[in-house]
């Protein structure tokens, strides 16, 4: 992962990765409560609203299984790293190849698996409910968290391929 080290030698990419990771992490915790958040924003003061938003971070301990919580944290971190690496590639005018597509698939599948276990995988149950297929989740051993693990694996592969691309010399290819 020499490419990752090269990128994060520039602190702006590191901070960007952290910001994106925080954003995705926050989204994972806030999305199941979006109706509540909207209601509070409409009725409460700004200070109270911010305090509530911050308090929702504690739901990581109450509203997720241990596996689910780890998936959220790891996925968020990997997503931040991948977006930062991708941005680096864009700026260096490398062509986008399958590594980036893999990252996007990885992030998508990972997001499918995210969600508070109490309310079900937020995205997955919403999608499956379209087809009356929520019962399918009960057949999966981890109730949908499998998608989180697949997402992590894809993001890890994406990180590896992006890192390799960054540290490879620029050559013309047939």
């Amino acid at each position: 992962m020499a490419g990752v080290k090269d990128v994060f030698r520039e602190s702006r990419y590191l901070f960007f990765a952290i910001f994106i990771a925080w954003f995705v992490f926050s989204l994972a915790l806030w999305l199941p409560q979006w109706k509540l958040i909207l209601q509070v924003l409409n009725t409460a003061s700004s200070v109270d609203s911010v305090v509530l938003l911050v308090s929702l971070y504690t739901s990581l301990g109450s509203n997720f299984t241990l596996g689910g919580a780890l998936i959220v944290v790891i996925l968020s971190g990997l997503f931040g790293v991948n977006i930062s690496l991708t941005l680096y590639l864009y700026r260096k005018q490398f062509s986008i190849q399958k590594g980036v597509a893999t990252n996007i698939w990885g992030a998508t599948l990972g997001i499918l698996g995210v969600g508070c276990a109490a309310c079900g995988s937020v995205i997955l149950t919403s999608l499956l409910s379209l087809f009356g297929g929520v019962w399918l989740l009960s057949y999966l051993p981890l109730g949908g968290e499998e998608f989180g693990f697949i997402g992590i694996a894809l993001l890890l592969y994406g990180t590896y391929s992006l890192s390799k691309k960054i540290s490879s010399p620029m050559v013309c290819e047939d």
Binding site: W34, S95, A101, L112, G120
Partner: protein, 242 residues
Amino acid sequence: MDKNNLGVPVAIVFAGVLIAGAVFMSGRSAQVAAVPAPKPQAPVVQAPTQTGNLDAIVPVSEDDHIRGDINAPVKIVEYSDFECPFCKRFHDTMNQVMSEYGADGQVAWVLRQFPLEQLHPVKARAEALATECAADQGGNDMFWKYADRMFELTLTNNRTDIETVIPQIAEELGLDMSEFQQCVESNKFASAIEADIADAVNTGGRGTPWSILIGPDGTKYPINGAQSFESVKQLIEIALKN
């Protein structure tokens, strides 16, 4: 030569449609796993309309299972499943809430049944029925004692040995066992449970625990899942200020 790779734009478009669609659908009331198939022996109950409308909530009344003062300015109506591990966690959270806000009558906790039969077939409903039968004999206090004990003993995720645990709790609490058994076998509270389920679905419940905090001015705040004590506390403070 750059390769013409459609993987990236396809992935982006697919991901965008997937996530946008899911966020949109999560705001609507779609068919949910929680809505059980109608029981042939149960009286017909009006089918849930799945509007996801918090204002459709059945008003809190003396018929409810209430911990605290029914006239409390803040009421938290929780729809729960005794086999749900997160309901078990949230039960402890709500007990903590009541320790802090219940004694001085600021918060009342209402517990309604929401057995998720697609996830916890047979057992969740049996446990719901048992708590109703306990209430039938011993009133509101007995309901809460039975519910507290059930959450202490349940292994959740459909692993509880209900043949042992249900009568065990009834005996521990000193219920008349033959009356209790008769109540359970008669399924007399099936329609009440169905009504609670319909209420949960009508208000937008998609899983458990599903709760609605009703403020003093009638404003309703949806609480999805087992939120932490800190979040519930902050929400109560917001509601009390309004």
